[in-house]
């Protein structure tokens, strides 16, 4: 006796195919809705903001008058912020990842730490803002400086960088470690010469994506008390500053209709920065295709 009745299979095939097409259509619809929403958003921002984009806009400080308002302080401020966040978070993040993956004994304690690092990545950014306010702004009296904000943002993205770096390090095959150690290399030599070079594409990609999150974050900056109307550029990490999302938030919350267009222009600048960073990440990913 046969278990698969081929006549029956043929008879029921029609229904199966309909279900098949139905789901294909459903998923296409979902994708279309998402893309459509994105397209509308982009269209509105570009049509609203493009008119305000000019060299003056990039080169002017904030102003009460929409036609004179510029984004210089915020753009340069964001760059200053990155100059603190990038080294702080990458050094701490990669260091922690190396410790957890290569040195720490695999026991309950480290397993606990590992899961909680991933959990930390899900903590709302406002909470990190409060932490930064307590520790950096007040306890260490750094005020609302670039340094205080940079450290706060570093804490915020640290878990993401640690997890990305851990994954990149874990993806390096053990055979490579064995080969290096088997030739009399020390653990440190193996890490520096074999593991990190192999893991660097993954580490950089993860770090850049984390940094682009830090560039777009507003909540921690508001909590720390980063000002908006600033008529000078910071000349060091101890100076106060403002950042792109703060500036955009301020413009968009003003009553005058003209400032909505200015805010849209600010968003275009912010998106340009983010797109650049993400393309760099994609470039790195493609350039260092893994060979093992």
């Amino acid at each position: 006796m046969r278990y698969v009745d081929h006549d029956l299979v043929v008879k029921r095939m029609g229904g199966r195919k309909i279900v098949n097409y139905l789901f294909k259509g459903l998923f296409m619809l979902a994708t279309t809705i998402a893309l459509l929403a994105l397209a509308i958003l982009l269209y509105r921002i570009v049509t609203q903001g493009a008119g305000n984009l000019s060299w003056e806009f990039l080169n002017n400080f904030a102003s009460r008058f929409p036609e004179k308002a510029g984004i210089k302080a915020a753009l340069i401020g964001s760059l200053w912020l990155m100059a603190v966040v990038a080294p702080t978070s990458i050094i701490l993040g990669v260091g922690s990842a190396i410790y957890l993956e290569e040195y720490a004994k695999k026991n309950r304690m480290t397993a606990f730490i590992r899961t909680n690092i991933s959990n930390l990545a899900g903590v709302p950014s406002v909470v990190f803002g409060l932490l930064g306010l307590t520790i950096f702004v007040r306890a260490l009296s750094l005020g609302n400086s670039v340094l205080a904000a940079g450290f706060t943002m570093s804490l915020l993205i640290l878990p993401v960088i640690i997890v990305a770096a851990q994954e990149a390090i874990r993806a390096v095959p053990n055979e490579l470690r064995d080969a290096s150690l088997g030739m009399g290399a020390t653990k440190w030599q193996t890490i520096v010469r074999i593991i990190l070079p192999a893991a660097i594409p993954g580490i950089l990609t993860g770090s850049i994506l984390a940094l682009s999150r830090a560039i777009g974050e507003t909540a921690p900056l508001i909590v720390i008390g980063v000002p908006v109307i600033i008529q000078f550029l910071p000349s060091g990490v101890m100076d106060t500053f403002t950042a792109l999302p703060m500036q955009i938030y301020d413009w968009s919350s003003r009553p005058q209709q003209e400032f909505q267009a200015v805010a849209a222009a600010g968003i275009i600048v912010l998106m340009a920065v983010l797109l650049t960073m993400n393309s760099i990440a994609a470039l790195i990913r493609n350039k260092f295709q893994k060979r093992y």
């Binding site: 055979e175 064995d178 080969a179 088997g182 009399g184 290399a185 060979r291």
Partner: protein, 272 residues
């Protein structure tokens, strides 16, 4: 019973042996090893001579890899490992507290089952060992790289592509790059754990010929699943079973006139 007669003649080296007995390179005394509760090596006694090829054979899981990895203490990378007994390498116990593993591994190179070149150029692969041991001079490195690649019989195949990634060549060539990489630290002993099991017959043959060549300058300990290979290339053979050494003798004795029934059964393919 079908016994495999060794192709190569051990007799050539016999007269010399009688004049001056070969020195031991590794003397294992009452070695025991546990992975947690699992007793993987039991009271191993082995006297491995220099300038010989010593083959280690036995069924899967009998402890061949464990034993060979103990010889350069790579086995200690598994956190649960405990050992007792002694392994004297050139008369010094490698388990001594003041014996540095890095020092030991500089004298004892290892070639693994799966070719594992670094994702670097062929040149950088071979130069890796000398570099970590502090050699920076480009001319000296060039010389070492050429000498090692010649020693591994692959110089002619790769001399024009030293800067290409080591993954751009065939598996058999990669394995010879790995051998060259091991030679570059100018070791005394080379450990090989099934170096040809991932390779095609022609690459295997090349590596077998190479092993014959290398034993003039090095002592070689090779794990193999392939009985014909053990018979072809080794001087001595140790038969492992369930973590014990059942029999250890000249290869032609093991393959033509084993004294233990279990050895005979294994080499005639009756189990394992």
């Amino acid at each position: 019973m079908t016994t495999i007669s060794p192709v190569k003649t051990v007799k050539e080296s016999k007269p010399k042996e009688q004049n001056s007995p070969k020195k031991s390179v590794y003397l294992t005394k009452q070695l025991n090893l546990w992975y947690g509760d699992k007793h993987a090596l039991k009271n191993i006694d082995l006297d491995i001579k220099e300038h010989e090829v010593t083959a280690i054979i036995g069924p899967s899981g009998c402890g061949k890899s464990t034993y060979i990895k103990t010889l350069n203490r790579m086995v200690e990378l598994v956190p649960s490992v405990k050992t007792s007994g002694e392994i004297l390498y050139r008369e010094r116990n490698i388990f001594d507290a003041n014996y540095g593993v890095e020092e030991l591994r500089t004298k004892v190179g290892m070639v693994f089952q799966k070719p594992n070149p670094f994702p670097k150029s062929i040149y950088d692969n071979v130069a890796y060992g000398p570099r970590i041991h502090g050699i920076k001079n480009k001319k000296i490195l060039d010389e070492i790289v050429e000498k090692s690649l010649r020693g591994a019989a692959i110089w002619d195949e790769v001399k024009d592509r030293l800067n290409e990634n080591a993954y751009s060549i065939s598996g058999g060539q990669q394995q010879r790059i790995c051998i060259a990489r091991a030679l570059a630290i100018e070791p005394d002993v080379i450990l090989m754990d099934e170096p040809t099991s991932a390779l095609d017959p022609i690459s295997t043959l090349k590596i077998e010929e190479l092993v014959q060549e290398l034993k003039k300058d090095y002592s070689i300990i090779i794990v193999t699943h392939n009985m014909q290979q053990a018979a072809r290339i080794s001087d001595k053979t140790a038969f492992f079973l369930n973590g014990e050494v059942i029999e250890y003798d000249d290869t032609d004795v093991i393959f033509s006139n084993p004294s233990d029934k279990r050895t005979e059964d294994y080499i005639s393919g009756r189990f394992g």
